[in-house]
Amino acid sequence: MGTHLLVDFGSTYTKLTAVDLEKETLIGVSKAMTTVKTDVNEGFDQALEKLKNAHPDMPEIVQISACSSAAGGLKMAAIGLVEELTAEAAKRACLGAGALVNHVFSHHLSKKEIKTLKNADIDIILLAGGTDGGNSECIIHNAKKLKEADLGVPVIVAGNKDAADTIDELYQDSNMEYYIVDNVMPKLKKLNVEDAKHIIRKIFINKIIEGKGIKKAEQKTGEIIMPTPEAVLQASELLARGHEEEEGLGELMVIDIGGATTDVHTIGEGTPKRTEVILKGLQEPFAKRTVEGDLGMRYSANALVSLVSPFEFKKYYDTEHNGFNNDTFKEHAQKLHDNVDYLPDTSEDEAYDEALARICTDYSVSRHVGSVEVVYTPLGNMYYQTGKDLTDVQYVIGTGGVLINHPDAKRILKEVEQKSNKKLELRPIHSQFLIDKEYIMAAMGLLGQKNPRLALKLLKRHLT
């Protein structure tokens, strides 16, 4: 049967996970620095050698699957009509496909916004606007502006189908790379992101990884099939839903704290749990991912501490340690920002990292979960719910360096739970915490493409 090797070309490390297909076990994991600047294969070879040295009796490698978030991952801009509707739907399509979305525009694109797009480092643009049969004037206007701007970036058109032919004619004779797909919001508040996600992945595989110098690795690994965050989302979905006779865990949340961003994934309907609650806003995706670009342990440490006052910071910082005062806690963040591979060596610094991780968890969950708002009606109190109700989530899974290496990571994950000062947020109330100790979430998302039963089994075995 042999070994299935799963490869993740991360921004810092190239991570390898080996799975024995016959014994159905995890053989081992290894990592080496990602070497995009020279030849991405160097890092891969080093990691492979480490793996082989540690496991000399590893069966022959018969399959390799790879994902990548190297060289900044996949960066997208989303454009829609109304901010809360098609612009939000477009953004969710990008996030669900594993992209980082730093630019979201609504209504008619202005010269200033086009300039922002020109200067921004973007891999793909997703253009939406209007329900099917609804407004087509705005998306056509924006399509024209994008053509004039000549950004040299692929454009996915996923808006009002009535505008599709006009935009097709507009782009046909240009040198633009464009794709016309299903509307991300065909009816008011109905989300339909699968077609857009599919094409994003296709462009990523065919074009983006080439531009980032990762394509070379395909000589050794075969096709790189998806961005890493999408692999994590796929693993989460598999773990929640189950596969055939192997049961899943049900509704769950995954928190992935990295150096630059914190990702939150939730799998579940998230519909209201009580009858007096009315759902507002755009439909939520069953598998939802949000990314916080200002919450991270190193690159984003500065942005992170600027979110909290010294007083608030102390609430997250273990009071046994008094290593930081109001000034030095900001200075330390700067130090972390400048030394991204810094590992804490004193107990004060460890406690500081823990505080950062707690803030990442607390804030990213606040932004991910839905909330309720009371409306006083003549018939008594009613509630608006915006976003997902995640109070019944059964499992919260932690992944990413700081959670994996922390001796008591579940303490950090406790920040996920409902809080007395955030009563209106629909956070998990009584969930169980699991840690991805071996760092296999992304790898299992890859394995799940070919062998979902085994991926599910290994996830259930190794998340503890």
Partner: protein, 134 residues
Amino acid sequence: MHTVVIGVIGADVHAVGNKIIEHVLTDHGFNVVNIGVLSSQEDFINAAIETDADAMLVSSLYGHGEMDCKYLRENCEEAGLEDILLYVGGNIVVGKQDFNDVEQRFKKMGFNRVYPPGSDIEKACEDLMEDLNK
């Protein structure tokens, strides 16, 4: 096909009339976008922008309609919906008031048509066709 946004405005949860309006308008060949009960002015406006609606039919049965509908016309204009038709109907004011006064007041607020309690929705359909084909 004409698109019409319908809904119940403000903190009003009367859902039955809303369903009947949807049913009748659909029967008459309108593309109905029903945003349901407990809808804010913003919900009406956002829905009308995305769906490129020709008209908004605002329902209110709990007496606070006058407050809830205040500045809806101005807010529509602000959002670029200068030409949208605005209809309102139901128990739209507090207590028993002379309907002619009420109608005048709502027309001043920018509504094209105003319907008293117990109006026949078929009549509103006819008016809508007439106004849209003007």
